[in-house]
């Protein structure tokens, strides 16, 4: 049996299509196509694959978009190494959406489907975006509904490939998500973005692959199935500022606060700098800091078996912090052929992520429970993508 977290196609994926035009109200998004290759390498896990996004106006007031995304996962993470065997897996996600412009209002509608062997997720979304006050203000509202089907894989005779996989479906999860956002022109050089989101989930919300650890009467560490609440409501609010600097550069900053009924309180701080250079180059750098408190029912080691109604050792629910430093470069070009392509960009993005847990120990190194070090890891996140406008 493997131990890993199921794949959840979060309902906020809908915002990709609903709110990206937030600062350019009453104008449909540009016709463009993006081909991206992504790579994550860190924490004993590699995830790589392509993503293709194509958007095209079919009339003056209707724009259609389609996205296809693939994760090729190879995992030997700390969770896997401590209790099970490494595995390989593939996830695919497809989505379709439409944006309809009527006066100063954009209506968006879409559908997303994510599939992997032990997790199926379907999501529908709708949003409306209204421009007002001479296009200085844009207000958007969105609603998303998601349905997940959760399974647990096991493997026959140690064959950790598709041929040996046996999937047992263990439960369903429903998601409802409401979003509101405001984009405001403050001055001729300054933009403000405000976002608020409420997410409500119920059903099977835990990972069938994770377990809780406890001490038995003899002082030995043992495991039992984790149990989490079957409802969860979270609220998130964020503010973004973007400022145009006199030497043709841009500076941005953001802050987000999140709190949910599982007791997690999180703060996210971000800053970025964008600098065009020479004729066709644009460079950018970013820094991001994230910190969260633990869920009320999380513990790295419970004092005894069944010591609480809800028990979890999901490290996503632990107390931890992470830092991310990012660098990006973009080169713009104008291909002579085919003529219907107006311009293109070739882009490289690299992010270095450092995660440090405050109450999640690395039991793979052995030793007594009190002598095990805290867990942490570094990851490299690389993206290469090419974009065309037509």
């Amino acid at each position: 049996m493997r131990w890993r977290c199921g794949i959840r196609a979060r309902t906020v994926t809908a915002a990709l299509f609903a709110l990206t035009a937030v600062s350019r109200a009453a104008v449909l998004p540009d016709d463009r196509a993006d081909l991206l290759f992504h790579d994550w390498d860190g924490g004993g896990v590699t995830v790589e694959g392509p993503s293709i996004l194509v958007r095209k106006k079919v009339t003056d007031s209707l724009s259609l978009a389609a996205n296809y995304y693939v994760d090729m996962i190879s995992s030997a993470s700390v969770d896997v190494l401590s209790t099970a065997s490494p595995y390989k897996e593939k996830r695919t996600q497809g989505s379709l959406s439409a944006d309809y412009l009527h006066g100063n209002t954009i209506y968006s509608l879409g559908y997303i489907e994510s599939n992997e062997p032990d997790y199926v997720s379907r999501t529908g979304f709708f949003s409306v975006s209204q421009s007002m006050f001479g296009d200085l203000t844009t207000v958007s509202f969105g609603f998303t509904r998601g349905w997940d089907h959760v399974g647990e894989d096991s493997y026959r005779d140690g064959h950790y490939e598709d041929g040996g996989r046996v999937t047992t479906w263990v439960g369903d999860a429903d998601h409802r998500n409401w979003q509101a956002s405001l984009s405001q022109v403050l001055t001729r050089n300054l933009l403000l973005g405000l976002n608020f989101e409420t997410d409500e989930s119920d059903g099977y919300l835990q990972s069938p692959y994770r377990s809780a650890r406890y001490l038995n009467p003899e002082g030995m560490v043992q495991t039992e199935a984790q149990v989490t609440p079957n409802t969860r409501t979270g609220n998130a609010g964020s503010a973004q500022l973007k400022y145009y600097l006199p030497w043709h550069a841009a500076l941005d900053g953001s802050y987000r606060i999140y709190h949910d009924t599982w007791g997690i309180l999180a703060h996210t701080l971000g800053a970025g700098y964008t600098q065009p250079l020479f004729t066709n180059w644009t460079f950018n750098g970013t820094v991001r800091y994230y910190r969260q408190s633990a869920a009320t029912f999380y513990s790295d080691l419970f004092p005894f078996e069944d010591s609480q109604n809800f028990m979890s050792r999901d490290r996503e629910l632990a107390q931890f912090q992470d830092w991310t430093l990012g660098l990006g470069a973009s080169w713009q070009f104008h291909p002579g052929w085919p003529r219907w392509i107006e311009k293109g960009t070739l882009n490289l993005s690299y992010n270095r992520l450092h995660v440090a847990y405050d109450d999640f120990h690395n039991f793979t190194v052995g030793g007594s429970p009190s002598g095990v070090p805290l867990y942490g890891f570094d990851a490299n996140v690389t993206q290469i993508f090419i974009s065309f406008w037509y």
């Binding site: 994926t13 993470s77 896997v80 998500n177 998130a236």
Partner: protein
Amino acid sequence: MAQRRLAIMAMLAPLAALLLCGCSPLQPWVKPYEREHLADPIMSFDPNPVSSTYLDHVFEVREGARGATGSVGGGCGCN
């Protein structure tokens, strides 16, 4: 008595001014011809949705918080 009436009028004057302003359309304080900088591609909150979608997805599956990113999300919970 006259002083009291004057004080009441002084207090009501800003309110009356606000109400009168409400009767006229709000004028954009940044005119369309002053938005050259704001229209520059470097001022976009999300210049590359396909890229920010992926990065939001990276954070979302490894952190407890979610949402209100202003743009995107995704969902691989692999560890």
